[in-house]
Structures are given as structure tokens and as C-alpha cells.
Symmetry: C2
Subunit: 364 residues, 2 copies
């Protein structure tokens, strides 16, 4: 028997109040032929994980008695990196020691171990395998544990909707300094797509601009004020004209005035994808942009898109893995908290409390 | 020689100041083999015609010296019904007496006569032809002269974007008492598509609701206040649930809060088409509708859509004509002004001044 811990909740509420550790046993000796047992390598805290616990997120984990409780419980967490500990006799796609991430959201990744059927996991190369395959480098724990949301969101938004011609076309994005924003501009650079990253003014502006351009591949970085200025727009138009392309895509994770300003930069028939609303303001689009420039405004939610298309998830993840292994893509750093084996819920409650200091990753 | 008048402008400005009548001659004796001469039966004043003259509309007629002037001039007007007066020797698709409307916008319809190549006009049945074809009734001058914008806009928005299942699915629209709104609800009724028309509260509300339901085919009519009320939304949800369908399409010609309220009624993956902005407020869409309900917001501009697709215009117009001939579709009434043969610009200037009392149609 293997003793496992999971962070669970029975009722929605603030994580500090409703989360608790449930300890249970997994019988590795009598493993079902199609099942696997995994141990967690690391799993992060995403804002949506917190919103799920609070009950204000539209995608929710099922509450079940599968962990041997009388009361139905949900296990928290949606992203995580796992290592295969045991495989059932009929499992062919995994070997002990492989790395894997959940096929779908709502797996419940805030736990030390999990028992599941093999189809619930997708394989990632572990560092030894990457080396054996002649790759420049293997995935880090952070890269594996955070691959499913932000890099996939960035890749799919840049690639899945609008045909952007390398060397010519552009996308513009607000929240250019966010994790998704940094992945998007990097992916743009890898693919030869120009980008304009809009960010808020800040004390260390020059340094941030430099970092976004050199490390994170943004072709240009502008402030929200510049993006709202008619004079500066003349300058921006020159950048785009010089490449002979158009701004065909806008990525919006802010809303309000900022969403209006990025939408205004789109060329005719352009698309704005909204994947967040950091300002808590709605998307605001002048009627003339819709009618006379044929701008379309749509939403992007990686959870819903990939739920119905695991093959797309597989392909997209393979591409991200390849870029990580080649050292072409830099991951968004996380603050790591080590689980010491005592009380798992406490670790995640601390991580949630620290989330204001950056994305938190619990490593096991 | 045939003496013609056209309402022209050399420079943009207020119609009362910049419009003038240009009188010129058309040589019907030496007609080019591929050309036709038409006389105007009627042409209306659309808001976009006025905006073109003011120079605030993105689609503009070309200014030319084709009418024998030294200064380049543009002829006003985009919609109109014409009768064929003369046909060139190689013209096969028109006969004298046929009715026609311009193939494209920016034809310059505010004139007594026009000389053009035959491809610049699309045939409509005149009343004699409708009768000969055994139709219940022929087109009226108002129906022919106003067919190109509002009925086509309504038909294409309801039919061209979202698959709505007859007897089950719904669309919701604000501006339900506008000309396009009335066409849309009628077309919905003809096709078996349910509709909710949102209108502003008004003194004769009950009468307007009755008219929109009985004459104009709206399944339900609600006020903006009702559409904004959570309590009333429970009622609206019942209507939709009863048919086993969904609200898959929203038509917005108002913007602002009204656009938010109709978008909120859409089911998952619904589309809002914006074709006007009567409130002068932008389209406002909560981020969650984009991300979690996958609502898309797009624009509709009949001018641009049909510019690249004359075949679609032909097919759509044929459908509208058929419904008019069968008496299934009621046209939006216009206020008719008769041109007395003196000064054509004056007639249109009067019509523009009277536009607040309803759509104006100049008949010849």
C-alpha cells in the first residue's frame, strides 16, 4: 500500500477555509490492467484553480467518493507534472519513469499520487529521454508542470485562427508582460511573425522593454499611453508598412480602453481574441470597427477548445516540448515551494497566499 | 437628345450647402452597343447617402467629369428603381420597359436619367411582368426603390451566418421597430425562425408590440428595460426552452448597454452581428461572454459583402422579390415626394430636411 495525500474541498469557499488534506491509500499490488499509478513531480497554482475552489469558475472538477470518503470531494488543481510509478499489465503507452501530464483539466493535480486509467495521461519526455534522443536539453520541472495552460494558449492563439505570413504580418497584444504575452511574442519570433506588445508604464520601463524584446522576442514594445496616442500611431503604422504586412490579430487579456486600443490597430478583417480581463472592464469595440473594418471579436479558452480536441493538444504540446528541448523557448519562471511531506493543503494555502509574488509551483 | 438632371457635389459638406443640380444631355440616338439608358422611377434618401455627402462615410462615389463638367463631380444616392428607356444593339438582358436597380452602390441614383453599360444594372420584374408570370402582385415603386439595402441586410444577417433550425431556434435583435428590424422579424416568420425584438419603451407601446407581432412577425417583443431585467430573463428563457432551441444569433443596431443585453441572451457559441450604432455607444461585451460562452461579435455591412459577390446579391434579391410578389413580406413605408421637373437638388434637400419624419422617397 502506498499512502497518498490530496488537497480537497467539499464545499466552495475561500481556499484558506475550505481546503483540507485527505490522506488515502493506493493499492499498487492489485493494479487494474489498464491503469497506472503516478507520483506528482510538481503542480502550480493558477488563478483558475483558485476560482474553481471559490465556485466562480465555469469549469468544475466533479465531486466524488472515489477516494474512499463518505462525503463527495473534489481534488484541486488542473496542471501538473507526474512520473509513472506503476503500470497495469495491458498498458503499452507508458513505462515506469516516464513523465506525463493530465489529458484533460479537472484531473485534480494537487496530490502526491494518483491512480487512473492510462488514457487520462499524456506522455512527455523526461530529461533522460531527451538526452537519449540527442536533444540539446531536457524539460525542467517547471516547464513540464506549466506546459498545459499558458504556452498552449499562446501557441494556439497565434497559430490556430488567422493566417499570418512570416516576415510580413503582425499581431498586437496587451498584457505583453504577462506569462501568456511572453510566450506569444517568443512564439512569434520563432515563427517569424512580428509583434507589438503593449504594457503598462512602470518604474523600470526601459529594462522591461529590453527584456521583452531580447529575451521574449517582441518586435516592438509600447506603453498603453503610446498605444492610445494618435501621434504615436503614425510611428506604429510605419513599422507595419515597412514589412509590407498587416496587423491581422490582436490578443486581449485586459479589456476596457486597452481592448479598444489594440482592436483599433487591426487592419481590415482583423480578429481580436480575448482570453482574459485583467482590468475587470468589458471588451469595448467602436461600432465602426465592426461595420466598416469588419473586425471580429471572439473569445479564447484553452480548456474548452482542447476538451473536444485531444489530438490538437498532443500536437501543440509536442511543438512546445520541441522548442523547450532546443532551447528556443524560455518558460515563465515560477516561485517553487517544496512539499516536506507533512500537510499538503497547508502548502497550497501558503502558495495561494503568495500568489501575488508570482506564479507558485509546489514541487514534491 | 434627352435632357437629364443629377444631384451632384464637388466638395463634401452639409447637403443644404454643397448639393446642386447639374443638367446635361444624353444622346439616345448614338447609344453604344453594350449600353442602356434608364429613367429613374424612384430613389430614396438613406442615412448613408447623407453621410457620403458629408464625407464621413467610408464608401464614396467617384468624382468624375463624365457628365461633361470641367470640375470632377459625384452624383449622390445609392438606391433607386429605374426603367429601361433605350437598349444598345448588343444588349440582350434588358428590354425597353424593364425595371432595374444598380448592381453596385455609388451608382448615383439621385438623377432623372442615366446612361450606363448594361452590367451596371440588375433586372427586377415590373408589375406587368409579375402579372404575366401569374404572381399575386407586382412590386410597388417603394419596394423596388428600397430593395437593395434594408431587406437584403435583414435577409443576409438572418440567413448567411448561423444555421438556425426552423421551429426551434431563435434570434434576438434590438432596434426591433427599425426598418431592418421589421424585415428581419418578418423573414424569421416566413422561415419559421423565432425572434425576440427588443424596442424602447414608448407611449403607444401596446400598439407597437401588436404591430410588430401581427404584421411584422416578431415572436415576442420586449422593452429594453425588460431585456435588462434578471426577473424577466427567466420568462424569456422559458420561451426559448419551450421550442427546444437556442438563441444562436443576435442583431445589434444600437450598441452600448443594449448590445450587452442582447449578447447576454445568446446561447453558447452564439454570434452577435452589429450593423448599426444608433446610440452612438460602442459595442460592450463582458469578457466572460467571450471566454466562457464563446460568444463572437462581428460586423455586418451589406455594401462590402455584396461588392465582392454580385451573385449573392442576385439570389438574395430574387428571394425578396418572390416574397413581395406573393404578398408574404410587407415593405417599410416611405414618405413620397414627387419631383415636379424643376430643380432636383431642391427636392432632395427638402427630403433630407424631412428625414426625421421617416424615410423619404423621391418619385419621378
Amino acid at each position: 500500500m502506498l499512502t497518498a495525500q490530496a488537497v480537497v474541498f467539499a464545499d466552495h469557499g475561500e481556499p484558506s477555509e475550505v481546503l483540507r488534506t485527505h490522506t488515502y491509500e493506493i493499492d499498487e499490488k492489485n493494479l487494474d490492467a489498464n491503469s497506472i499509478i503516478v507520483k506528482t513531480v510538481g503542480s502550480p497554482v493558477n488563478p483558475s484553480d483558485i476560482n474553481q475552489i471559490q465556485g466562480v469558475y465555469p469549469s468544475q472538477p466533479e465531486k466524488t467518493t472515489a477516494l474512499g470518503t463518505e462525503q463527495p470531494l473534489a481534488v484541486c488543481g488542473n496542471e501538473g507534472l507526474f512520473e509513472i510509478l506503476h503500470v497495469g499489465s495491458k498498458v503499452t503507452n507508458f513505462q515506469v519513469g516516464d513523465w506525463a501530464v493530465p489529458t484533460s483539466v479537472n484531473f485534480g493535480t494537487w496530490r502526491t499520487h494518483a491512480l487512473c486509467t492510462a488514457d487520462k495521461m499524456m506522455k512527455l519526455p523526461n530529461p533522460k529521454q531527451s538526452k537519449a534522443n540527442g536533444k540539446k536539453q531536457g524539460l525542467t520541472v517547471n516547464q513540464g508542470a506549466t506546459i498545459s495552460v499558458n504556452p498552449l494558449t499562446a501557441y494556439l492563439m497565434v497559430n490556430h485562427y488567422v493566417k499570418l505570413t512570416p516576415g510580413k504580418d503582425w499581431f498586437i497584444q496587451n498584457g505583453g508582460n504577462s506569462a501568456v504575452g511572453k510566450y506569444a511574442s517568443q512564439i512569434g519570433r520563432i515563427l517569424g511573425i512580428n509583434s507589438i506588445s503593449v504594457i503598462r508604464d512602470r518604474p523600470n520601463l526601459e529594462e522591461t522593454v529590453k527584456d521583452l524584446q531580447s529575451t521574449h522576442g517582441a518586435t516592438h514594445v509600447v506603453t498603453e499611453e503610446q498605444n492610445n496616442s494618435r501621434e504615436f500611431n503614425v510611428e506604429m503604422k510605419k513599422w507595419v508598412d515597412q514589412t509590407g504586412g498587416k496587423i491581422k490579430l490582436a490578443l486581449n487579456c485586459v479589456g476596457g480602453k486597452s481592448s479598444t486600443a489594440v482592436a483599433r490597430k487591426l487592419g481590415p478583417n482583423g480578429l481580436m481574441l480575448t482570453y482574459g480581463g485583467m482590468s475587470y472592464q468589458p471588451v469595448i469595440l467602436p461600432t465602426s470597427l465592426h461595420i466598416f473594418k469588419n473586425i471580429t471579436s471572439a473569445g479564447f479558452w484553452v480548456t474548452e477548445l482542447l476538451k473536444s480536441n485531444p489530438q490538437l493538444k498532443r500536437e501543440t504540446m509536442d511543438q512546445i516540448v520541441e522548442w523547450y528541448e532546443e532551447g528556443k523557448l524560455v518558460d515563465a519562471k515560477s516561485v517553487e515551494l517544496k512539499f516536506d511531506g507533512s500537510d499538503l493543503a497547508k502548502v497550497y494555502q501558503d502558495a495561494i497566499a503568495n500568489s501575488k509574488d508570482g506564479k507558485q509551483l509546489v514541487v514534491y
